[in-house]
């Protein structure tokens, strides 16, 4: 295979951190090249340099053997390079078709929306991407938004497509579909770079793998000549333990229960249709399901961020249906939200400001109408140490932290402030092996301390490893419940596709308990 891209001596420094420390990388035409590494290893930065988003402080890029000057995303597009980011770069109030064609000089003057939509729809279909060109971005699930991003690059004629953590937001089925599409593209001569930290995924998809650690490329290997254990060792520099130690726990009192819950989505369509469940203390209950089947709405209804149109939510015996977020928080409900940067943190403010987001109004951190800043600082320092949040200082803006550290910050804050009930939504999405393990340990620790945990996740391995029982949601309804055992994976798969099953119907069970 010909060499398509060669990056030499790429050096990029951000305030307080060297993201890329003289990285060399070659990518061959038509291959699927995986860039593997923990969060903060510099994978994304390296690819942002290739995609013209960052200018490197030093280093050169050659494309097809010729030196290329890539100074902007526009230059990159012209060179046939497209990038799908982990955090989407979409104009939320605009339609899919508008987003796909945005910035192109075509049409030059008058917009014929219907024609544009038809055209975008046709291109999408030719790549096997299912998306409604007429829909507005804000109406789409995260998974659907990703498809728009991929479509955007393809529509611009990208020959080299970089995908940053593409499966982080996808369901198992969608992952399979994505892989089929990606392999097809590679066979058709496209060159693909996949940024990832998921070993199995990288093993099954890629032709070659480059492992990065602390801003340097450690090694590049042929996928067929390596194995997950070797990769893990290269990634973290130490042997990883994959087995979680989950103690057997006897569930205690009912902490969360909801009955016959109904709610609407942002689009105003039914998102939750008559679902009921209860979670007891010392128990992790998982919600499995394909993205966009009501998971986000469920978390939001419980935490008071979205109104229930009917039904009832009870926390610790108290009816909190359609209470304000504040009232729900005061019941001891912690919430790890799906959207870390948009909801869970204030990226422009510092670590200290973000750690105090929920405790600032309670004793001993308040002092009448004032803040007890020295107490808060003490508290923040303790959390940073205890949860190993890697940050230059408490005054560092959160936007400068890596994804894993942002998530650790959110967990630290939520765990430290509340412990009765935790609603965790995709808590390890996009995190590296080390951070994922940390998060899993923290959740299990909360469980042994007596917390009730509702874990919404698309990662079946995660659900099976952590949960005591798993409910499957499909189109806003529960398909059934199974114990979290490895052999249940087939049943769960069927239920995720809309088939009723499982050992019992949770609605009926909790309704009886309620009656």
């Amino acid at each position: 295979m010909n060499e398509k891209v060669r990056m030499e001596g790429i050096f990029k420094r951000f305030p307080g951190v060297i993201a890329n420390d003289g990285v060399d990388l070659d990518i061959r035409e038509g291959e699927i090249h995986a860039l593997l590494g923990e969060n903060g290893a510099g994978k994304t930065t390296l690819m942002c340099v290739l995609a013209g988003i960052y200018s490197p402080d030093a280093g050169t890029i050659r494309i097809d053997g010729e030196k290329a000057l890539i100074r902007s995303p526009r230059d990159a597009i012209r060179a046939g390079i497209g990038m799908v980011h982990q955090h989407f770069m979409l104009v939320v109030p605009y339609s899919v078709a508008e987003n796909v064609t945005l910035g192109l000089n075509k049409p030059r003057f008058l917009l014929n929306e219907r024609k544009l939509e038809a055209e975008v729809g046709k291109v999408a279909q030719s790549f096997g991407i299912q998306v409604d060109p007429h829909a507005k971005i804000w109406q789409l699930s995260v998974g659907e938004q990703q498809r728009v991003e991929i479509l955007k690059s393809l529509y611009r004629g990208a020959k080299i497509l970089i995908l940053d953590e593409p499966t982080a937001v996808l369901t198992p089925q969608e992952v399979r579909e994505l892989f089929v599409t990606l392999r097809q593209m590679a066979r058709a001569g496209h060159t693909l770079v996949i940024i990832s930290h998921k070993l199995e995924e990288v093993m099954s998809l890629s032709d070659r793998i480059s492992v990065m650690r602390k801003g340097k490329r450690i090694s590049t290997v042929n996928t067929k000549d390596t194995n997950p254990t070797e990769l893990a060792r290269l990634m973290v520099g130490r042997e990883m333990l994959f087995d979680l130690h989950k103690e057997k726990a006897i569930p205690g009192d009912e902490v969360l229960s909801f009955y016959n819950l109904h709610a609407l989505s942002d689009k105003g369509l039914p998102a939750l249709r008559d679902i009921s469940l209860s979670v007891r203390s010392k128990e992790i209950v998982g919600i499995a399901g394909v993205a966009g089947n009501g998971q986000r709405e469920l978390a939001e209804v419980i935490t008071g961020l979205r109104p229930a149109t009917s039904g009832k939510v009870v926390v610790n015996g108290k009816d909190v249906t359609n209470n304000s977020p504040r009232q729900v928080i005061d019941q001891g409900v912690a919430h790890i939200p799906e959207d870390r940067k948009g909801t869970g943190t204030v990226p422009n403010l510092c670590v200290l400001d973000n750690l105090m987001l929920k405790c600032y109004r309670v004793e001993p951190f308040r002092n009448g109408p004032l803040l007890n800043l020295s107490r808060i600082r003490e508290f923040a320092q303790k959390l940073v140490k205890q949860f190993r949040i890697s940050t230059p200082s408490l005054e560092t803006p959160v936007r400068l932290l890596s994804g894993g550290n942002v998530q650790k910050l959110i967990l630290a804050r939520e765990i430290a402030t509340f412990s009765e009930l935790m609603i965790a939504v995709h808590p390890t999405r996009g995190l590296d092996v080390g951070a994922t393990e940390d998060v899993h340990q923290m959740l299990l620790e909360q469980r042994s301390k007596g917390a009730a945990i509702l874990l919404i996740s698309e990662d079946l391995d995660e659900l099976l490893a952590l949960c005591d029982r798993i409910d499957v949601i499909y189109e806003g309804k529960f398909m059934g419940e199974v114990p979290a055992e490895g052999e249940q994976i087939e049943t769960i798969g069927l239920m995720m596709a809309g088939k009723k099953g499982g050992t019992k119907e949770p609605e009926a069970a909790s309704l009886q308990a309620h009656a």
């Binding site: 200018s55 100074r71 977020p325 204030v346």
Partner: protein
């Protein structure tokens, strides 16, 4: 050849600090061109302005007099901007504060009690705050765009104010002129010996201290900072966003109202149809220039006070003092343009990419 904007990976702090300075310098240069086009000597005109504003003890004291309402309005506008609430209504809130305080003063023409001034201060705070709460309520409850409502309410406030002066409150001994009767001396703010600098200066400085403290050390100040940066996170954290919006508008309007009280009680000593040369609008520029920082607000207000006072001496020079408005407009325009450059860089692109 074309020009385009490229996003900066990191906005430069130095650049962000330089932009206000560069905006002022560039505005002065562009103003110089305008002066030259009228046939005058720009250098002499600017010197005239500078001397008129800062060149003597009297000039300095007059500049300080104008600085007082500018500080108060700018602080009010600034705290709202901090919460990403675009309160453009300081001018109207100033007039409503003056209306409320003036009503008290006129009700007690002989009032010699110690309580009269504090009562007027309170009335102006309440008057301005209530007027600010109208766009605040509409924003908090119905999500009505506060830029439009607060701006339009300025005209309502000024006309309301003038109705009372042309009508019920007109001085019967005023030969038909649109003035109210002069206030009793008990309603006058004390002044610094020999100057027109009044106690409002102390109010202004206290207000700056209050806001700095509010943002840094109080719970509600923290909430305002969070809401300004990321309302969704604020909601997630269980903060009372409508409540904070109302509070910010009340503080914002109250401070502008206090500025109005200072003008009528400290300087004019009666009500007349116009009591502000657009302090509330100039405050928008000052708030941006000072990056909503209370201490910088005081310094920048002083400069703009000088610009106003210096503008009056242009008349003696044969130029219109509306040059001051042109300069203010240029500064805001260049400042907002410059802010884009802190986040993006300009690139010139030749025929080859």
């Amino acid at each position: 050849m074309s020009i385009f904007l490229e996003k900066r990976a990191q906005s430069s702090r130095l650049l962000s600090a330089m932009v206000p300075l560069l905006a002022i310098i560039l505005a002065l240069l562009m103003g110089a061109i305008i002066i030259a086009l009228t046939g005058s000597n720009p250098w002499e005109a600017y010197r005239e302005m500078f001397v008129g504003a800062f060149g003597s003890g009297y000039a300095l004291s007059e500049t300080l007099v104008k600085t007082i309402p500018l500080i108060l309005c700018s602080l009010g506008v600034g705290i709202a901007f901090r919460a990403t609430l675009w309160n453009i209504g300081a001018e109207g809130q100033l007039y409503m504060g003056a209306f409320a305080a003036g009503g008290i003063a006129l009700a007690f023409p002989q009032g010699q009690g110690w309580w009269l001034i504090p009562l007027m201060v309170l009335a102006s705070l309440v008057g301005g705050a209530l007027w600010g709460l109208i766009p605040g309520l509409l924003k908090a409850k119905l999500n009505v765009n506060e830029i439009i409502t607060s701006l339009l309410l300025n005209y309502v406030a000024i006309l309301w104010f003038q109705y009372w002066i042309y009508g019920p409150w007109k001085d019967p001994l005023g030969y038909g002129f649109p003035y109210t009767a002069p206030f009793g001396e008990g309603a006058w703010l004390p002044t610094l010996a020999g100057t027109r600098i009044h106690l409002g200066l102390a109010f202004a400085v206290l207000a700056a201290v209050f806001l700095f403290f509010l943002l840094k050390s109080t719970r509600v100040g923290y909430e305002i900072r969070i809401i300004g940066e990321n309302p969704q996170a604020a909601r997630y954290a269980g903060m009372n966003i409508p409540g904070a919006i109302l509070l910010v508008f009340a503080i914002s309007g109250g401070l502008a109202g206090l500025a109005g009280m200072g003008e009528i009680s400290g300087v004019i000593h009666r009500l007349q149809p116009a009591i502000s040369p657009g302090f509330g609008y100039t405050a928008i520029i000052i708030a941006w220039l000072s990056r909503f920082n209370p201490w910088l607000t005081i310094a920048v207000s002083f400069l703009f006070g000088g610009l106003l006072v210096g503008g009056y001496s242009l008349r003696a020079f044969g130029l219109s003092d509306s040059l001051v408005l042109i300069l203010q407009g240029l500064i805001l325009f260049l400042l907002l343009g410059g802010d884009i450059l802190t986040r993006y860089r300009l690139r010139w692109k030749g025929s080859r990419a």
